[in-house]
Amino acid sequence: MNHLLSIKDLDRPSIERIVAQAERFAEVSDREIKKVPALRGRMVLNLFYEASTRTRSSFELAAKRLSADVVNFAASGSSVEKGESLKDTVLTLSAHKPDAIVLRTPWAGASELVSKWCSAAIVNAGDGKREHPTQALLDVYTLKGRLGELDGASIWIVGDVMHSRVARSNIIAFQRMGAKVTVAGPPTLIPRGIEALGCDVRFTLDELSSADVVYALRMQNERMNETWVPSVREYASWYQINGRRLSPRQVLMHPGPVNRGVELSGEVVDSPQAVITAQVEAGVVVRMAVLYELLAGARASTPAPSALPSPASPEPQPA
């Protein structure tokens, strides 16, 4: 594995290998000295074009626990604000020879582009509305800890599926691990044709009781202003996961940050069914496993397959 660009690049054995590695690292996190020398002398660059607290700090902690050097580069307050392009920023930062670049951007496919511009291992930490593969991995890890295997489990992903990279990556990852995925939410926020990804679609939570796992998505405030739903009140009354809708045997997940009182009621967030803080904890060990896999494993020197589509279209010749 040279990069982690999309969860689609990982088959079930690869996901299981990373999860197993994360389980070994979990032991480290419980020590008093939470550090192993696995990546000593390696450099991890966090390049974040979007505000992020948990993902960035999770990657930072993961790298530090592996004894790697970490540089954080946030787009705000940097040369990006002076108009530097993504390409030039990457080329500039590449001069410091990072071994891995963890990239978060608001643009689909940005990590594929960056992987062509530099030799570092690229970890997609969220690209627009497309993918968030390490989130999917940490969710699989968390669920395995709770359920054992995911085979045959029914997982409902509820809320704003349209604007959610978490939903897209998790639909793929959960299915690869043998689970059955249903997405549910208001029709305006369920992308037309999402069934093609293999999931079922529901517009109400009437059948939510059939789920083993309820995965609620964050309802972003700005969506309310763009008339995707009539009001927060109506959204909450139809789609909020609360004590009335959640049954005691179900596991509740959320990628954070939670809007209490919108997609989740306060009582379910604090209930023992919620594994939301376990997800955060899993984030560090899973990202340790990803960085370890990319940097300590036998990293081939061959470049990743081109992101360009057709076999008949190689790079254009410069004019």
Binding site: S85, L86, K87, T105, P106, W107, A108, G109, A110, E112, L113, D127, G128, K129, R130, E131, R165, R168, P191, R192, G193, I194, A196, L197, S306, A307, L308, P309, S310, A312, S313, P314, E315, P316, Q317, P318, A319
Partner: protein
């Protein structure tokens, strides 16, 4: 008297003898091998192959059965002047057109500033008279600044040589505004060409709404964004008995809407681009920004409807929508990239390879559709007949090449066909009686 709508740079009328070329001119009903003599820039005579004597002083071109076609005419290109000369200019854009076998193009007004006033049109035409390799017509904006709120001075613009009017790049969102433009057309004439898109439906989209946009998590543009506007504007055009041209159709429902309007006798015409005729949303899967255009590449079903429309004549002509963008503008994540692909240099070869070679379309029909736009805009149609100005394209249908392998004449390289293996190479283009393009490896036998 109004100025002639087409302008071109300085030309040297040539004397040529094209020996043993396969002349294919669907309108003149010629499809046979001939010798063709061009004298003083006009087609002088057609004779049996090997039958015309070579006069001294006349350049001899050995055709060896290669195809001589009427030169192509493109009603929809972006030459980026004024204001965006880093993408293209009148010289590079018309050089690209000549290399693609075109003798005439119509340039769109979404420039900076917008082409919406007579003084600007005059200055552009003066520049074209110095720099343009082939004939160029200009379409000023329907509404000032493309803002959709106030008509440009259409009558004065027509007098200054406007071919017609368009807000291309943007729709005329307001039905009332469009109706006024169509009413005003009775005074000034000129085809009104429409880019059809409902911004309330397309907003936030970077590609076709469908299976691929869902898989990529990229905002989708539904086909109804185009088709509802085509249907609306066809109805308005019918009501006002106005002459309207729909630009770059991209989906089944739009083709149906145009077919219905034509069946009712409305004066509408339309075009399709090589990329919509040959590519689909599947080609966007790799998020190559050269595959990002407006309207977006749609489904295979949509593509087939466009091909069928081109065959039946519901779609009147091919237009490239040649839209050059600088490398740094396209070398960004997909959602950030501007829309558009270049197309002039690859149009014929791409369509010949993709549609004629597999037997989907007849070569004669493709040639007809690549030359038909001139008449739609009330301009003379290029034809290979004695006494006609020589507007000719010599192509080698068997020559294979990789698009872009030897660079581009265009200033930009954002071609969606780049890297593809194509057949049907333009060897020579004659526009208005002058040689405007010669394939570099193409040797002249005698002089």
């Amino acid at each position: 008297m109004a100025a002639h709508p087409l302008v071109h740079g300085p030309r040297t009328a040539v004397d040529l003898l094209l020996r043993d070329v396969h002349v294919l001119d669907p309108r003149a009903l010629i499809d046979a091998r001939h010798d063709v003599r061009v004298r003083g820039g006009e087609v002088a005579e057609l004779g049996d192959p090997g039958g015309l004597a070579h006069d001294p002083g006349e350049e001899l071109i050995e055709g060896r059965g290669q195809h001589l076609l009427p030169a192509f005419f493109d009603p929809h290109v972006h030459l980026r002047v004024p204001g965006q000369e880093h993408k293209e200019d009148l010289d590079s854009g018309t050089r690209a057109a000549a290399a693609g076998g075109y003798a005439g193009v119509i340039a769109m007004p979404n420039t900076d500033p917008v082409l919406d006033s007579a003084p600007l049109l005059r200055s552009l035409r003066e520049t074209a008279a110095r720099e343009a390799r082939i004939s160029v017509g200009f379409m000023p904006a329907i509404t000032r600044g493309l803002n959709g709120e106030q008509l440009s001075e259409m009558a004065e613009l027509r007098h200054e040589g406007a071919v017609g009017f368009t807000d291309d790049g943007k729709p005329v969102t307001s039905a009332g505004m469009l109706r006024k433009a169509l009413q005003y057309q009775r005074l000034c004439g000129g085809v009104i060409a429409l880019h059809e898109e409902d911004p309330t439906l397309s907003r936030g989209g970077s590609m076709h709404e469908g299976a691929v946009s869902v898989a990529l998590g990229i905002g989708g543009i539904p086909t109804i964004s185009e088709s509802t506007m085509v249907a609306r504007d066809a109805a308005i055009a019918g009501y006002e008995d106005a002459r309207v041209h729909f630009q770059h159709l991209s989906c089944v429902a739009s083709v149906q809407a145009v077919a219905e309007a034509k069946a009712k006798g409305f004066r509408v015409s339309t075009e399709a681009s090589p990329h919509h005729l040959l590519l689909t949303e599947e080609d966007v899967r790799g998020m190559d920004t050269r595959m990002k255009m407006n309207p977006p590449l749609a489904t295979e079903q949509d593509r087939q409807a466009l091909i069928e429309g081109l065959r039946s004549g519901t779609i009147d002509c091919v237009a490239t929508d040649h839209a050059p963008h600088a490398r740094e503008e396209k070398e960004v994540p997909f959602e950030q990239a501007p829309m558009g692909t270049t197309g002039l240099e690859t149009a014929f070869a791409a369509l010949y390879t993709g549609l004629v070679l597999p037997g989907v379309l007849e070569l004669a029909l493709l040639v007809e559709r690549m030359t038909a736009a001139a008449a739609l805009y009330e301009l003379p149609t290029y034809t290979i007949a004695p006494g006609e100005p020589a507007n000719l394209t010599l192509v080698d249908l068997d020559a294979e090449f990789v698009a872009g392998e030897r660079g581009w004449e265009s200033r930009s390289e954002n071609c969606c066909f780049a890297g593809r293996r194509l057949r049907g190479k333009v060897l020579l283009t004659v526009a208005g009686g002058a040689v405007v393009y010669r394939e570099r490896a193409f040797s002249v036998v005698g002089a």
